[in-house]
């Protein structure tokens, strides 16, 4: 049987009434946890994991995967409406998505995010179907040295994301790098800046910091009416994107799909990295880069698409190698193993029903999410009619529940509160907090990759020039650096 025949069989598996219902349940639940700040795909999947023990393996995987990509879909909603990231990967969406909402284009932004997510998600499943084994092999070539070089490149790209002046961005990047060093060092097991507390052993909690710096600071700013212009509630007719907006979004969506898919193969931080790389690319290519940070349509469409395109790619290491590269796919792995389904090189041979059933259900799920989200746009936008006096405390409570749920720790709440106040002050002084968060995540991985590579080579720096993956990434690093320096020298900046 050829791939097409297998896919048809997959649809036969995915379209059974039970599996269709499971897909719907997964997508719906995923949307909910995605919309609620703090709760992400991980929490959503973990909560429903015990339910899957009684299902057949294909159904279990279909439902859990639905939660995963459903949450990625839903994460944009609060980012756009309230500038509170629904989950970690929606940070970049906050920047221009919320600016659009402020201009009264909330409905249009939500629609673009939903359609972009649909296109990105669907294209990435196509990629997964066509090239999974090949890409998995390519991914194995990325060792610690290549990872360090790649992360160094990503750090350079962070500069593009910022809306502030260079010196302030640099300050935020350095602060992020410093925060990233907190916790037990992975290579020597020495504690860094933990002050004897076990709470910080795994480092600063990204979710608590992100919700605090973006969400809580926004709510505090909203008390300061002179500084903050409230989003306008659009009329019903204004819910749809204009022709001009659609024209601007379309190419960004296509580029975002490609970027998201490629970066989905980077272990660990794929969703975060892919969104801001897409943002940086859109800003570079735009004829009006000055609009970025002020509600640029491409600055929303690209990253939001990339976010969802990453999901399909993130499935590849799990399905082809049996090795989850991000925590969400680790939960999928354990759901499969409970049913004695071992993902990996033999999955396609031993359990084609699970593999193709999952692929087919992801196509269906993406369509379900689009149908689920578009009618909700009007409802979500009407949230903005709620007086801030009611909305702000409500969102604050939801944020607190979400952050607390990650580790059931009150320390996380304190981190969120401090980050909220710090974020409020930083933004009052016109510092952009996105580079801080990005640098924190990237810096940690860059450092660990760098030192791990040197452990392997016994201190020989030549390891950073060896291997196809390292050389490819070095080439990209050089290109990005040249572009930056060249732009500076020519006095053409943004």
């Amino acid at each position: 049987m050829d791939s097409f025949g297998y896919l048809m069989n997959g649809f036969a598996v995915a379209l059974t009434p039970t599996n269709l219902l499971l897909c719907l349940v997964g997508c719906f639940w995923g949307t909910i946890v995605g919309v609620l700040p703090g709760l992400g795909p991980l929490a959503g999947m973990a909560l429903l994991l015990p339910l899957t023990f009684g299902l057949d393996p294909a159904g279990a995987v279909i439902m859990l995967a639905g939660i995963f990509y459903g949450a990625m879909y839903g994460g944009s909603t609060t980012s756009i409406l309230l500038r509170v990231p629904g989950e970690a990967a929606s940070i970049v969406t906050c920047i221009d998505g919320h600016e659009m909402a402020r201009k009264g284009r909330a409905g249009s932004a939500l629609t673009i995010a939903a359609v972009g997510s649909f296109v990105g998600g669907s294209l990435s499943i196509l990629g997964l179907m066509v090239a999974a084994p090949l890409l998995a092999e390519a991914m194995l070539k990325v060792g610690p040295a290549a990872e360090a070089v790649l992360m160094a490149t990503a750090l350079l790209v962070v500069a593009f994301v910022s809306t502030g002046p260079a010196i302030k961005t640099l300050a935020m990047v350095l602060a992020g790098l410093a925060l990233g060093t907190i916790g037990l060092d992975q290579l020597t097991a020495s504690p860094r800046f933990m002050f004897g507390s076990l709470e910080l052993i795994d480092g600063m909690s990204f979710v608590a910091l992100a919700i605090g710096l973006f969400g809580i600071s926004e709510l505090l700013l909203s008390l300061d009416e002179r500084l903050l212009q409230r989003p306008k509630t659009p009329t019903l007719r204004e819910l749809l994107p204009t022709a001009a907006e659609a024209r601007e979004a379309a190419p960004a969506v296509l580029r975002g799909s490609g970027i998201g898919f490629v970066f989905g193969l980077v272990p660990g931080v794929s969703h975060i990295v892919s969104t801001f790389v897409s943002y940086a690319v859109e800003k570079r290519l735009s004829k009006h880069p000055e609009e970025f940070g002020k509600g640029a349509v491409a600055g929303l469409a690209g990253p939001e698409t990339a976010n969802n395109a990453t999901t399909g790619a993130a499935m590849i290491p799990l399905l082809v190698l049996g090795i989850p590269a991000i925590p969400a796919t680790a939960i999928l792995l354990s759901a499969m193993m409970v049913h004695n389904v071992q993902p990996g090189p033999m999955l396609l041979v031993e359990r084609p029903d699970v593999f193709w059933g999952l692929v087919a259900s992801m196509y269906i799920g993406n369509a379900i999410l689009l149908l689920l989200n578009l009618p909700l746009v009007g409802l979500f936008v009407s949230l903005l009619r709620t007086p801030m006096g009611y909305l702000a405390p409500l969102v604050m409570v939801v944020c607190m529940i979400g952050v607390f749920s990650v580790k059931a720790s009150s320390f996380e709440l304190a981190v969120m509160a401090v980050a909220g106040i710090a974020g409020y002050l930083l933004r009052k002084f016109r510092y952009d907090v996105a580079p801080l968060l990005l640098a924190m995540v990237i810096g940690d991985r860059m450092e660990v990759g760098f030192r791990r590579a040197l452990t392997i080579s016994q201190g020989d720096y030549a390891i950073f020039t060896q291997g196809a993956a390292v050389q490819l990434f070095l080439g990209i690093l050089a290109l990005v650096a040249c572009l930056q320096i060249g732009a500076k020298l020519l006095g053409y900046r943004r």
Binding site: L42, M45, A46, L49, P50, F53, M139, L140, K141, V142, G143, P144, L184, Q186, L187, T188, A189, S190, P191, G196, L198, E199, I201, D202, P267, P317, L321, G322, I323, P324, A325, P327, A330, I331, L333, S334, A335, M337, V338, H339, N340, Q342, P343, G344, P345, M346, K407, A408, S409, R452, T455, I456, Q458
Partner: protein, 322 residues
């Protein structure tokens, strides 16, 4: 005062209600919290949840599984030992936070702070190499790494972790020096091993098994005394005369110290039966683990013995308590 009045009322009501029967309500009279100090989705979490499901039917009470991950399990164990010793907060743990972490971390508990109720079984760690590696059997593998001190690298689950100590214990006994490269977990180790970035895979069985079946890896040595049926080519330590150097990953049930003895006995009996059930055996097998039910006394002795042995390895490696 209000509280004490209420307590008094509650005691009075309870006393009246139970007058004809025993003086105490039967344990468990309300839902039990089972703290799992690991994130959802791993082996520990799965075994804990599946045991809970079986035990619920016996107790006719809900067992609420709470994941308290962080610090390699030490955060969750700290919470378990600090709980009320009334039998309504239990911990389902793997051995690392009890016997390994205390050597590298300033943890707030010792074996005196908790009661070991029982243990369910174990899973061996395994050492695997590329198919081109010049050794096939366990003895050949140890001879090869011994003949080439410092030449090979092995990936492990983390500095000072149980996997690293398990491997170092064997290397020390064999007089070999292999360079450790710590990763974030067995999945990450497997990826870097398959990509050729480290020479030897060190970790649990499940991530590497499909690749052994696909002919991309061979596994000469286990860290358990016995062999494992899913890896017939891998030698157990006993077959090399090193059975005493066994270090495995095992799981068990603990309660805060001073939990009443009758409660502990009941828990030991019910959980031991659950762990021996066919249904649970399948769950263990699906993760490459073996059932080996041990009672309270045996599990306590195992914890103290392992704590000592790994302490010596950690000291030899220069790992310091932070």
């Amino acid at each position: 005062m209000f509280a004490s009045a209420r307590t008094f009322a509650a005691v009075a009501v309870a006393a009246l209600a139970s007058l004809p029967a025993a003086a105490q309500p039967a344990y468990p009279a309300r839902p039990i919290t089972l703290i799992v100090p690991a994130p959802p989705g791993g082996g520990t979490d799965l075994f804990g949840r599946q045991l809970a499901e079986i035990v619920e039917a016996e107790f006719k009470q809900k067992l609420v599984v709470e994941n308290r991950a962080g610090g390699g399990g030490t955060v969750g164990v700290t919470q378990i030992v600090a709980a009320q010793p009334d039998g309504y907060t239990l911990g389902f743990i793997w051995n690392s936070p009890l016997t390994t972490s205390p050597h590298s971390l300033n943890v707030l508990y010792t074996p005196d702070r908790y009661a070991a109720i029982m243990s369910i079984g174990f899973s061996s760690y395994v050492l695997c190499v590329q198919p081109s590696f010049p050794a096939d059997t366990g003895a050949q593998f140890l001879a090869e790494v011994k003949a080439n001190p410092g030449k090979y690298t092995y990936g492990n689950d983390g500095v000072g972790g149980t996997m690293q100590l398990a491997a170092e214990r064997i290397f020390a006994a064999a007089g070999a020096r292999v360079r450790p490269v710590p990763f974030g977990g067995a999945g990450e180790t497997a990826r870097n091993f398959l990509g050729g970035h480290v020479d030897i895979y060190g970790g649990s069985l499940p991530p590497i098994l499909p690749h052994v079946q696909a002919g991309r890896a061979k596994c000469p040595l286990l860290t358990s005394a016995e062999g494992n049926p899913s890896l017939p080519g891998a030698a157990g330590l006993a077959s090399l005369g090193m059975g005493a150097e066994e270090t495995v990953l095992w799981w068990g049930l603990i309660a805060p110290a001073r939990t009443p003895k009758p409660v502990l006995d009941r828990l030991e009996a019910v959980f031991s039966t659950a762990a021996r059930s066919a249904k649970f055996g399948e769950a263990m097998a699906s993760q490459g683990a073996s059932v080996r039910v041990r009672g309270s006394a045996e599990t306590s002795a195992m914890i103290r013995g392992e704590l000592d042995a790994l302490g010596k390895v950690a000291q030899a490696l220069g790992i310091q308590r932070q």
